[in-house]
Amino acid sequence: MPAVTETIETVQAVAESGYKWGFETDIEMEFAPKGLNEDIVRFISAKKNEPEWLLEWRLRAFAAWKTMEEPRWAAVKYPPIDYQDSYYYAAPVKKPGPRSLDEVDPELLRTYEKLGIPIREQAILAGVEGAGETPAEGRLPVAVDAVFDSVSVATTFKARLEKDGVIFCSISEAVQNHPELVRKYLGTVVPQGDNFFAALNSAVFTDGSFVYIPKGVRCPMELSTYFRINAKSTGQFERTLIIADAGSHVSYLEGCTAPMRDENQLHAAVVELVAMDDATIKYSTVQNWYPGDAEGKGGIYNFVTKRGACRGARSKISWTQVETGSAITWKYPSCILQGEDSVGEFYSVAITNNYQQADTGTKMFHIGPRTKSTIVSKGISAGHGQNTYRGLVRIGAKAAGARNFTQCDSLLIGDLCGAHTVPYIENRCATAKVEHEATTSRIAEDQLFYCRQRGLTQEEAVGLIVNGFCREVLKELPMEFAVEAQKLLQISLEGSVG
C-alpha cells in the first residue's frame, strides 16, 4: 500500500504545520477601488480590453444581480456578506518579460515552489521565454494555466497543444483571440441570471481558463488550472469555459489554495462545459481553499456554479471532486443530458472538520432518451463540521429508458458534527429507472480494532479507513491527483480523533 504509506508520512510531516498552503506572497499588486458598482464592471472590462458586446453582457448580469437575493436555502450559516467591502480586481504588476529565472520576481517564483509545482513548469509559469517545453523525466506532461488572484499569469505547453488544434488559454486571451467561440458559448450553459452568485460572477469575472478541443481530437495531455487567492480583501471570480467538439476527449484538472487569514474571502466561480456528439469531458477538482482555523475563524466562502451540457448524442461529462477546503462550500456540479444516450457522472468526496460547512451535490437533468447518470457521494464530518448532500435527479417525459443510480454515504467522526442527505427525485417517464441509496454511520469499532491490533496508531487507522471509504471516488481521479487527494483527506481530519 505505497499510497497509504506515503499518506502517513505526509501526515507526520505536516503534523505541526496544519494548512501548509497558508502563506502569503508579498508582491506588488494593482487593485481596482473597493466596492461593486457599474464603474467597477466597466473598469474590469476596460482593463481586459474587451469588446463592446461583452461589456454589455456584463452590465446585463450586474443589472440582474441587483434585483436578486442571496440564496438562503442551503444548510449553511454565515454572517451577511458586505459586497461593497471587497476588491473585485487584483493583479500582480506585470513587468517586461523576464529572460531568465534570475529576473523573475523571486516572490512569485517562491510561491510556485511552495505550491509544489515542478521546477520545469515553474520556469514557464513565471513567463520565462525559451524555457524548454519538453516533459521532465519522460512523465506525461500536464499543461497548466495559473490564475493568481484576478488574472491568469501563464499557460504552459500552448505550442504543443496548438499542434493538435487544441486551444488552451486564459479566458481573457480567448476573448481577444477567439471571440467568435467565446461569444457563441459563453452563458449558454449557465445564463447570466441563473442564480445570485452566477450573476455576480458574470458581472465581474476577471479570468479563468478557456479550452476548445476540435472535432475528433483526443487532447494529448491533461489540462489543469491552478487557482491561487493571494491578496487580502479580494474575491476571486473566475470563469471557465470548456468546449469539446464532436468526437473529442479532454481531461481537465482544477486545484486551488489561499493564504490563512482571519477574514472570510469570497470565491464565486462559474464553470461551463459543452460536449458535442461522442465527446467526453472529464473534470476533476481538488478543492483545498483555506478552511479557517480550529475555532472557525477565517476561510474561503466557496460559492460555485458548475454545469455541463451534454448537447450531442453519446456525449459524456464526468465530474469528480474532492472538497477538503473552504469554510463554506456551496456547489452543485450538474449535467444537462440533452443528447440521446448521453452520460453524466458525479463522484464526490466532501470532508468537513472543525467548523467547516459543506452543502454540495449534483443535479442530473435527463432530457434525451436512454440518458444515464451515476452519482456517488461520500461525505465525512468531523469536529463541528456540517456536511450536506443535496441533489436532484429529474427525468423528463421524453427520456425513455433513462437510468440513474445514486449512492450517498456519510461517515461521522465525533458527536458534535452533522451529516445530512437531501435528494430530490422527479420522474415523469414510466420507462425510466431511478435508484437511490443513502447510508450514515460512524467508523466501526471492529475495523478500528483490527487496524490498531496490527500496530497502526488511532490516527493512521482512521486515515486508512477513510481512504477506503472514499476509494470509489478517488479511483476516478487522475493518478497524481489521487495521491494528493489522499494526503489531503488525512490532513483535513487532523485532530479529529484521539
Binding site: G418, Y424, N427, E437, S441, R442
Partner: protein
C-alpha cells in the same frame, strides 16, 4: 354565512362568524387556542408550492374552492362501510354518532371530543403545531368534534374501528375532526380507521397521539373516499420509552390525499414503524409526507412506502429522519418504491436524513420505475398472458408492503382494499 368566499378567506370568515358557537366557546383556554391558530392561518393561508414541504403538492384546487359546512345530521340512517371489528366508533361528517356506534364491552371509554372538552384540556394542542403546519392551524381553528380515547395503564384495548363517513349534501363542504388518542403505560390497542365519503368535500383531520412508556398502538388507516374528496390528514405522535407506534396507511380513493405524519421518539428504546401503500389513477394525486424525530437514544424506526400510479396520476413521497445529538445508537431505515404504469404518471420523491449523532445506523433507499422487464419475461415465458403477468407483479409489489403488518385482522382488511383498487383499474382499462 359567507359561502361565496373561497379558500383561506372563506375559512377565516367562517371562524369569525362561528367562534361564539363552536364547541367550547365559553372556555377561555380553548378560545385562546383557536384564536392563536386563526392568527397563524391568517398569516400563512393555504401553503403554496413555494413552501418546501408543499413543493410537489398543489393545494390550489382546495384554496380556490368555496366550502360550506356539512349539514347537521343528528339522526337518520347512514350507509356504513362493512365492519372490520365488532367495536366501532362512527363519525358522520366529522361528528360523533353514538347511535351508530357499537362500543359495548370495550375495556376503556370512547367519547366524542365535544362531549368532554374539560378533560381534554391538558392534551388538546399538546402535540399539534399550528405555527408550523397551516392545515393543523385550520383544524384547530374550526374543529367541532373527534374521537377522544384514553386507555388506562396496562389495559389491552383489543380492536377498535374508527369509521368516518362523509355524506354528500350536494354542494362543496368541509370538516376538520380532531382526534385525541392516549395510551397509558403498558396499554395496547389496534385502531383501524376507515374513511369513506362522497361529494366535493375537504376532510382535514388532525390526530394527537400519545403512547406512554411500554405501550403499543397499531394504527391502520384506509382512506377510501370518492375521487371527488380532498383528504388532508396530519398526525402527531409522541412515543415514550419502550413504546411502539405502528402506522399503516392505504390511500386509494380521494382526488387528493396528503398523509402527513410527524412522529417523535422521546424515550429510550422506543420504536416507530410507518408503512403504507398509496395508489392513484387518472387525475388523482397522492402524497405521503413523514417526519421522524429521533430525540432519545437507542430508538429504532422503520418505514416502507409503496406507490403505484396509472393514467395521469401523480405521486409524492417525502420522508425525513432527524437524529438529534442525544440520540446515540439510533437505528433508522426508510424505503420508498414507486411503480409507474402509464406514460403520463409522475412521481416525486424526497427522502431526507438529518443526523447530528455519530453512533447511528441510518439508511434510506428509493427506487422509481416501470415493472421489471426481466420478471415480466419470466412469467410470460411460463405461458402467463401479459396482462395477467403485469397484474401479478403489481399485486406482489403492493402486498410486500402489507407484509410488515403483524395484526391479522388489519392485514386482511388492508389487503382487501389493495385488491379492490387493483380490480377497479382492471375494469377501467
Amino acid at each position: 354565512m359567507t359561502a361565496a368566499q373561497t379558500g383561506a378567506a372563506g375559512f377565516l370568515a367562517r371562524y369569525e362568524g362561528l367562534k361564539d358557537h363552536l364547541p367550547g366557546a365559553r372556555k377561555p383556554w380553548l378560545n385562546a387556542l383557536r384564536a392563536d391558530a386563526a392568527a397563524h392561518f391568517a398569516a400563512r393561508g393555504f401553503p403554496t408550492r413555494r413552501v418546501e414541504q408543499w413543493k410537489y403538492t398543489d393545494l390550489a384546487p382546495v384554496a380556490q374552492a368555496a366550502f360550506a359546512e356539512p349539514l347537521t345530521s343528528v339522526g337518520g340512517s347512514v350507509r356504513l362501510p362493512a365492519a372490520n371489528s365488532p367495536h366501532r366508533a362512527v363519525f358522520v361528517d366529522g361528528r360523533f354518532r353514538l347511535d351508530l356506534s357499537t362500543l359495548d364491552g370495550l375495556p376503556f371509554r370512547v367519547r366524542g371530543l365535544a362531549q368532554d372538552l374539560a378533560e381534554a384540556e391538558p392534551h388538546l394542542g399538546a402535540l399539534a403545531k399550528p405555527e408550523a403546519e397551516p392545515l393543523a392551524a385550520l383544524n384547530t381553528m374550526l374543529f367541532e368534534d373527534g374521537v377522544f380515547l384514553e386507555l388506562p395503564e396496562g389495559v389491552d384495548g383489543g380492536l377498535l374501528e374508527l369509521v368516518s363517513v362523509a355524506v354528500d349534501p350536494g354542494r362543496p363542504f368541509a370538516f376538520h375532526p380532531r382526534h385525541l388518542v392516549r395510551l397509558g403505560a403498558g396499554a395496547r390497542l389496534t385502531l383501524i380507521e376507515t374513511a369513506t365519503g362522497a361529494g366535493t368535500c375537504l376532510h382535514n383531520p388532525v390526530f394527537e397521539i400519545d403512547v406512554a412508556e411500554g405501550a403499543m398502538l397499531t394504527h391502520g388507516r384506509m382512506l377510501q373516499e370518492a375521487a371527488t374528496v380532498f383528504h388532508l390528514s396530519t398526525i402527531y405522535a409522541r412515543i415514550a420509552a419502550g413504546a411502539t407506534y405502528d402506522n399503516f396507511t392505504v390511500a386509494a380513493g380521494p382526488r387528493l390525499t396528503r398523509n402527513e405524519i410527524h412522529a417523535a421518539l422521546v424515550g429510550p428504546h422506543a420504536a416507530c414503524h410507518m408503512n403504507g401503500a398509496q395508489m392513484a389513477a387518472d387525475g388523482q394525486h397522492v402524497d405521503t409526507t413523514t417526519s421522524l424525530d429521533h430525540a432519545a437514544p437507542d430508538c429504532a424506526s422503520r418505514q416502507t412506502y409503496k406507490t403505484v400510479l396509472t393514467g395521469r396520476a401523480r405521486g409524492v413521497f417525502q420522508g425525513k429522519i432527524h437524529v438529534h445529538r442525544v440520540a446515540q445508537r439510533t437505528d433508522g431505515y426508510q424505503m420508498n418504491q414507486a411503480l409507474l404504469l402509464s406514460e403520463e404518471a409522475e412521481i416525486d420523491s424526497k427522502p431526507q436524513l438529518e443526523i447530528y449523532a455519530d453512533d447511528v445506523k441510518c439508511s434510506h433507499g428509493a427506487t422509481v420505475g416501470a415493472l421489471d422487464a426481466d420478471s415480466l419475461f419470466y412469467l410470460r415465458s411460463r405461458g402467463i398472458p401479459g396482462d395477467q403477468a403485469r397484474a401479478m407483479l403489481v399485486e406482489a409489489f403492493l402486498h410486500e408492503a402489507v407484509e410488515t403488518v403483524t395484526d391479522e385482522t388489519l392485514k386482511g382488511a388492508l389487503t382487501r382494499v389493495l385488491d379492490a383498487w387493483w380490480e377497479r383499474q382492471g375494469v377501467a382499462a
